[in-house]
Structures are given as C-alpha cells and as structure tokens.
C-alpha cells in the first residue's frame, strides 16, 4: 500500500520519513554508490527541504519498502541542477504538467524474489502505479524520471517502457543515470496493473496510517469480578421484574446456578 506524504501531512509521519531516508541511504549510497550525502544513516539532499511530494510503499507490518519523490519541473528540481550532466549543460524541460520523479527505490533486502505480494517486483509495480495515478489525479500528463540502466530495464519489462529519453546517459557513481519520459495515461497504468496482477486501489488514506501508528492494544478484558457484578445486577433485575411466581422461581434458579458457577458469595448474594 502506498502513502502520499507532502508538506501538509509530513508532521504526522516522522517515523516513516526516517525509515524512508534510511532506505535511500542503503540504496543510493551503499548499493549504487551515487555521490549522495548520508548523515545519521539517512540520505537527504536540498530538494528534500523544498517540500517535495513522496509516495512511500509500506508492507503489511507498516515498514517502508519503497519510495519515490516528485517535484514540479517549473520550479527547482534535480535535472535543472545536480543532474545537469545528463542534459549536457542544456536547460531542462519546464512545464506545469510535467513532474520530475527522483530517488525511486525499493528495499531488496526486506522483499523477496518472485511476484508475490512481498516481492521486489510487486513493490516496484505498486509504486509505479501510485506515481502515475497521483500525477494523473493532479492533472499532470507526463513524468520525467531520473533512473539507472537497471531501473530502465525493469520499467521495460513491467509494461512501463519509457516513450522517450532526454539528454544522455551520464556517470553518477558506480552506475550511470539517465532521464526517461513516461505518460500518465490509463493505458500505461493498465499495462503495469496487468503485468503485476494488481487490481485494487494502491493508496492508503493517511488517517488509517495515523490510526495504526497510534494503535495500542485494547485495555485488558474487564476483570472477572466486574463481570460477576454485572450478573448480580442482572439477577436482581430479573427477580424484581418477575410478575408471576413461575417467573420469580426461574429468576431465583438462574441466580443459584450463577452463584454455584462462580463459587462466590459476591456473585448473587440476594
């Protein structure tokens, strides 16, 4: 399930944010060897201070298993700045209906192989579907995404083949990076959904996550003696309410049965 976090609700999810930056440190710092800044085990850059929008994948236990970041191309974004090598120093595309997607990653350690619900493939597709649907909902028609060649291959075999590229492949660390174009159309979303066999709503409402984060096991079941007191009251009511000798006899018999059952004078000491 995917949670969308932005400037308006990020204060509600400090733990999820921390886990997300830790995942990025493991993927972009350790695994891909990109030139990123890691502090306290978290990878963050200046664009994280510019109120981006994140789509964060959570597993059934509520742990972060994937994430991606979106910024408007009309404002400051990575291709306009730190990824300018990809564009050969050329100015970036600018459009109100084109978002830039960066830092797409999944937790390959926490996830399994194969295609099941807890697989890398499933988490990847779920996040791709969420990115495209969130953009489409916002009236955004295209995404330019900065990825590595491995991710490019993953896109191609998940029904999410880029319709084009901008600039050229440029070295970013152990692996090169490139900028691919994706249309946020029903057709593309349907192809990924069919490939991954995902047909449900991939988003989870923030209220549900907040509720789950604040979840505390219900108080211990009421003390047995309190239940007995309830029964005592019930017995008394039944006896009082009896309008015939037969009813009164039945109520008294019930009281006796309960008294015997609990072996306690507190039960129904009428």
């Amino acid at each position: 399930m995917i949670l969308v976090i932005d400037a308006l609700n990020k204060h509600k999810f400090p733990e999820i944010m921390r886990e997300m930056f830790e995942l990025r440190a493991r993927v972009f710092g350790d695994r891909m060897g990109w030139d990123v800044t890691i502090k306290d085990g978290m990878e963050r850059d200046k664009f994280d201070d510019m109120d981006p929008s994140y789509a964060v994948g959570l597993n059934d236990e509520g742990q972060v298993v994937s994430c991606v970041r979106a910024l408007q191309t009309t404002g400051p974004h990575m291709l306009a700045d730190v990824f300018s090598a990809i564009l050969n120093g050329e100015p970036p595309l600018r459009s109100a209906t084109l978002w830039e997607s960066t830092r797409f990653c999944v937790d390959t350690k926490r996830l399994a192989r194969g295609k099941g619900r807890s697989s890398v493939s499933y988490a990847t597709c779920e996040l791709m579907i969420a990115s495209l649907e969130a953009a489409k909902e916002a009236g955004v028609t295209d995404i330019v995404t900065v990825i590595d060649p491995l991710m490019d291959r993953i896109l191609k075999r998940s029904g999410n083949t880029p319709y084009g590229y901008v600039g050229k492949q440029a070295d970013m660390g152990k692996v090169p990076a490139l900028a691919a174009l994706l249309d946020c159309t029903e057709e593309r979303i349907a192809r990924i959904r069919a490939f991954a066999d995902i047909h449900h709503d991939v988003f989870i409402a923030e209220d549900e996550i907040v509720a789950a984060e604040n979840y505390q096991p219900a108080a211990q079941p009421v003390d047995a003696s309190e239940r007995v007191i309830d029964l005592k009251g019930y017995c008394a009511e039944q006896i009082d309410a009896a309008t015939t000798d037969h009813e009164r006899g039945a109520a008294l018999a019930l009281q006796q049965v309960l008294f015997d059952k609990f072996h306690s004078t507190r039960a129904c000491n009428a």
Binding site: D6, A7, L8, D49, M50, D51, P52, S53, A70, L71, Q72, T73, T74, G75, P76, A80, L87, E90, P91, P92, L93, R94, S95, A96, T97, L98, W99, A134, E137, A138, G139, V140, T141, D142, Y163, G164, Y165, V166, L181, D183
Partner: protein, 239 residues
C-alpha cells in the same frame, strides 16, 4: 520553505487595486472553466513583493484584509507548499479554514474548491485558488475535467504577474534547449509532430513534451504563438 515572513506582505497587496489588468484574466478564466471565483496570490523573492488578484467583490476582499485572514488562510499558506493541487476537502479539519470560510459563507462564498500551487525557477511561488458552488460529486467531475488546463493557465498567470517586475522579466529570458529550438524550427517549416518525430527518430510524444516546454518558456498558449515568439527573439528562422 519559510512561509510566515512571505505572508506578512499580503496586507498591502490585498487592498483592492484600481484597474487591475490581471483581474480581467481571472474573470475570463472563471467564465471559461465554469467556476465561481478565481484568486491568485504569489510571492516574488527578487523584489520581495507579494501580489494578489481576485474575482471576489471588494466587500469580501476588504473584510478578508481587515480580519488578517491572509496570515492564516490555509488555502494560501499551506496549500501553496504542496506539489499537487490541494482540494479544500483536505483542509476541512483545519481550524483556520473553518474560521475563514465561516465568514466567507456570509459573503456568499463557498468552501468547495482547490488551490493549485505554482513554483518558479527563482524561488518564486504562487497559488491559484478556484471555488465552485457545485455539489461534491459534480465538483469532482468538473475538477477532473479542467485540472490539466488549470495547471497550465495557473503557471501562465504566475509568470505574467512575476514578470511585471523588470528584473524578473530580464532574468526570465527564455532558455530553450537545442532540442526545443530544433523542434520549433521544424514546426516553423510546417512539419507535423509525427513528421518531426520521424525526422529526429524520437516518439511524437517526446516531440509534444518539448513543444509544451517551449510554449511554457515562451509564455505562449499555442504552438503557433510559440513559433512566432521564437522567430521574434531570433531563436528560429522563419519557415
């Protein structure tokens, strides 16, 4: 991004302006998209000025300024920090939202609407707020129908307002990439998007996304207009 310091400028700009050229633009948008009201607010970090233009009548604008709503109104202050447009249903639990729109109601202004945040390359930012008196299901339908166009128009209005400042105008000289110029040049020569895609061995949608970016940079609503402006600027030779 720091917001509070920016918003302190609002009290001046929300004094109703005489002969507001932008108001005409907003009135046209209101009609075109079938909306109740359209309001734009933006901040220019270079001149340090805040700009506001609204289709609301003066009575509400004055009340809004007098109550200092510009300091707390979440459709301005919070929504602008979003990346995606913010439907106001997302703000309904915000006490400031309730305070502003309780008063707005008395002026016949509804709390059904959304704010489209706009970010520019120089740290300039703005928000275009629109509202409607449709029922929620009808509003959602209308929103889905107009949101892509509104995104583009919102960015256009923002650029126009920002460039009323001479320094901002000078900084905003369009920076087109080689690819964008190349595609505009073929367009000036009368080639279709499909033709250009074939010539450059790229998909027609890649051509389209470059044209859209060129239109944005040249502040043109149509490709024909963009080509005209590119020719005027000497970026492209007349076909």
């Amino acid at each position: 991004m720091a917001n509070t310091d920016l918003m302190d400028h609002f009290d001046l700009s929300f004094v109703p302006e005489r002969e507001d050229p932008f108001k005409d633009l907003l009135l046209k948008m209101r009609e075109k998209f079938g909306l109740d009201h359209v309001a734009y607010a933006g901040f220019n970090p270079i001149s340090g000025t805040t700009h506001g233009h609204v289709t609301y009548d003066d009575e509400w604008t004055r009340h809004y300024a007098k109550k200092g709503f510009f300091k707390v109104d979440p459709t301005l202050n919070e929504a602008r920090r979003s990346v995606a447009p913010v439907d106001w249903s997302r703000l309904e639990h915000n006490k400031n939202f309730t305070a502003v729109f309780r008063d707005a109601h008395d002026f016949g202004i509804t709390d059904t609407g959304m704010t489209i945040p706009i970010r520019g390359p120089f740290g300039d930012m703005g928000g275009l707020s629109v509202n409607s008196r449709l029922s929620q299901p009808e509003w959602r339908k209308l929103k889905q129908h107009i949101i892509t166009d509104l995104q583009q128009v919102a960015a256009n209005v923002h650029d126009l307002v920002m460039q009323s400042n001479p320094l901002m105008r000078a900084l905003s000289a369009p920076h087109l990439s080689t690819r964008e110029v190349e595609i505009l040049q073929w367009t000036a020569a009368g080639k279709s998007q499909q033709d250009i895609g074939d010539i450059l061995s790229i998909s027609h949608r890649t051509v389209e996304v470059h044209l859209r970016s060129s239109r944005k940079k040249l502040q043109a609503l149509t490709t024909v207009q963009a080509v005209g402006r590119a020719i005027a600027l000497g970026l492209v030779y007349p076909g």
